[in-house]
C-alpha cells in the first residue's frame, strides 16, 4: 500500500515527531537508498550531524520494517536509563510543581518510545497510529476535563 507521502509540504514540528512520512527534517530514513538520497542531504538545519545520525539509524534498524535485535536492546537500555532518572528525580529536593512535570515528561518519552519502536508504530501504516492516538488523546482530554471540573471549575 502506498504511504501518504507528502514529501513537499512541511507539517508542524510536533506532528513530525509522532507521524512518519511527514517532515524530512525529523524524518528518519528507512533504507540506505533514502539515507543517501541527494534530496535530503543539505536540507536539514543541523547539517552533517543529522545526516550522520541518520546513517547510524539505518545501520541499527536494518533498513526495513523490522529493526535488528541490537537496536531493540539499545532502546531497552535507554528506557531503563530514563526509568532510573525518574526514580532519581523523585528524590530531588524541589517542590512538586517542578518535579511532577519532569516526571510526566519523562514517562511520556518512555511511552512514545515503546509505542514507536517496540510496537513498531514508527515503521507502520499511519492508520494504526491514528486509531490508537484517537483513543489516547480522547482519554487524556476527558481525564483533564474531569480533573478541571473537580478541582478548578468548581467555584
Amino acid at each position: 500500500m502506498a504511504k501518504t507521502g507528502k514529501s513537499q509540504d512541511k507539517p508542524g514540528m510536533l506532528g513530525s515527531l509522532f507521524w512518519q512520512s511527514s517532515d524530512r527534517y525529523f524524518q528518519l530514513p528507512k533504507t540506505y537508498a533514502e539515507a543517501e538520497s541527494p534530496a535530503r542531504k543539505y536540507e536539514n538545519p543541523f547539517g552533517r550531524l543529522v545526516d550522520r545520525m541518520s546513517r547510524m539509524w539505518v545501520r541499527l534498524s536494518s533498513g526495513d520494517r523490522h529493526p535488528t535485535a541490537g537496536f531493540y536492546v539499545i532502546v531497552g537500555v535507554v528506557l531503563t536509563v530514563i526509568t532510573a532518572i525518574e526514580v532519581w528525580a523523585f528524590t530531588w529536593p524541589f517542590g512538586k510543581a517542578v518535579i511532577n512535570p519532569i516526571l510526566l515528561a519523562l514517562s511520556a518519552v518512555k511511552f512514545v518510545m515503546v509505542i514507536g519502536f517496540f510496537m513498531h508504530l514508527r515503521f507502520e501504516h499511519p492508520l494504526f497510529t491514528r486509531v490508537f492516538a484517537a483513543g489516547l488523546i480522547l482519554a487524556i482530554a476527558i481525564s483533564l476535563s474531569l480533573l478541571a471540573l473537580f478541582f478548578k471549575l468548581n467555584g
Binding site: H66, K96, K110, F118, L127, F128, V131, L138, S143, L146
Partner: protein
C-alpha cells in the same frame, strides 16, 4: 441476475474474511492491513479509554482520604522501581521474541517468548507481594479511597498482565510441536511457578504451610524441572507456518507492550507523583 449453481461462480477466496491462522496475509484488504492487527490497534485505542477512566478516578479521588493509611506511609518506590524494570525488560524480551520468529529462528523466538512470560510473572509476584504487604499494613480496598482506587487500578492492570502471560504461554506451546518439546515446556513452566510460589511463600509468609523445609524442597524440585525442561527444549523447534505464527505473536506482543505502557503511566502517576501524599486535602479544606 439469475442464480446459477455455486460451482460456476468465480472463485472468491481472496475476499474471504482473513480470520484463520492460515490467512494472515493482508494483501486482500482495502487498506492492505491485516484484519486482526487493525483489530488489536483499535482495541488498544479503546483500552486507552478503559485505563484512562480508571486513572482519572484515581486522580479525582487523590488526596480525598478521610483516614489512613496514606500513600506516604505505605508506598515503597524502590521495590516498585524494580518491578517496573522487570516489566520493561519483558517488553524488550517480547520484541526480541518477535524478531527471532521473523528471522525464522523459532527456537530463539520461543526462548524469548518464555522469557517474556517469565518476566511478566515475576512482575505479578511483585504485585502479589505488594498487595500482601499493604494488607499487613492495614490497607485493603475497603479501607479508604486510596485503597479503593489503588487496588482497582493496579488490580485491573495485573489482570491484563495475567491474560498476557496466558497468551504468551499458549504462543510458546504453539511453537512446540513434538511431544518432547511439549513435555519440556510443561516441566519448565510448572517448575518456574513452583519456585516462584515457594520463594514468595517462604520469605513473605503468604501461604503459612510453605515455610522452611517444604519451601526449599519445592524450590529444588522446581529448579530441577526447569533444568529438565530447558534440556528438552534445547532441541531446535520446528514451526510449520512461520508467517502465521509471527502474526499471532506480533498481535500478542502489541497487547503486551500496551500493558507495559499502561504501567509506565501508573508508575509515574500512582507511585512517583503520589508517593508523598499524606493527610489529604479532605481535612485541610473541610471537604
Amino acid at each position: 441476475m439469475a442464480q446459477a449453481p455455486a460451482a460456476t461462480y468465480p472463485h472468491g477466496q481472496a475476499n474471504l474474511p482473513a480470520e484463520s491462522h492460515a490467512s494472515g496475509h493482508a494483501e486482500n484488504t482495502s487498506t492492505g492491513l491485516g484484519h486482526r492487527k487493525l483489530l488489536m490497534w483499535t482495541f488498544l485505542g479503546s483500552e486507552c479509554m478503559f485505563f484512562g477512566s480508571l486513572i482519572a478516578t484515581y486522580l479525582v479521588y487523590r488526596n480525598q482520604n478521610l483516614n489512613g493509611p496514606y500513600p506516604s506511609e505505605i508506598i515503597d518506590v524502590p521495590i516498585t522501581s524494580l518491578s517496573t524494570f522487570v516489566l520493561l525488560m519483558s517488553s524488550l524480551a517480547m520484541v526480541l521474541a518477535l524478531n527471532g520468529i521473523q528471522r525464522n529462528k523459532p527456537r530463539l523466538g520461543r526462548f524469548w517468548t518464555l522469557m517474556t512470560a517469565a518476566l511478566g510473572s515475576v512482575f505479578l509476584f511483585f504485585q502479589v507481594f505488594e498487595f500482601h504487604e499493604f494488607a499487613i499494613h492495614g490497607l485493603t480496598p475497603r479501607t479508604n479511597l486510596f485503597g479503593t482506587t489503588f487496588f482497582t487500578l493496579t488490580g485491573f492492570h495485573g489482570a491484563h498482565v495475567t491474560l498476557g502471560v496466558v497468551l504468551l504461554l499458549i504462543m510458546a506451546f504453539v511453537f512446540s510441536r513434538s511431544g518432547r518439546e511439549k513435555l519440556g515446556l510443561v516441566l519448565a513452566v510448572s517448575g518456574f511457578y513452583a519456585v516462584g510460589v515457594a520463594l514468595l511463600a517462604h520469605f513473605f509468609k503468604i501461604i503459612p504451610p510453605i515455610v522452611g523445609a517444604p519451601a526449599f524442597v519445592i524450590t529444588a524440585l522446581g529448579l530441577a524441572a526447569m533444568a529438565g525442561g530447558g534440556y528438552l527444549l534445547a532441541k531446535p523447534a520446528a514451526v510449520r507456518n512461520v508467517k502465521a505464527v509471527s502474526e499471532n505473536l506480533e498481535i500478542t506482543g502489541l497487547y503486551w507492550h500496551f500493558v507495559d505502557i499502561v504501567w509506565i503511566v501508573i508508575f509515574t502517576v500512582v507511585y512517583l507523583i503520589s508517593a508523598n501524599d499524606g493527610l489529604g486535602l479532605a481535612q485541610g479544606l473541610g471537604h
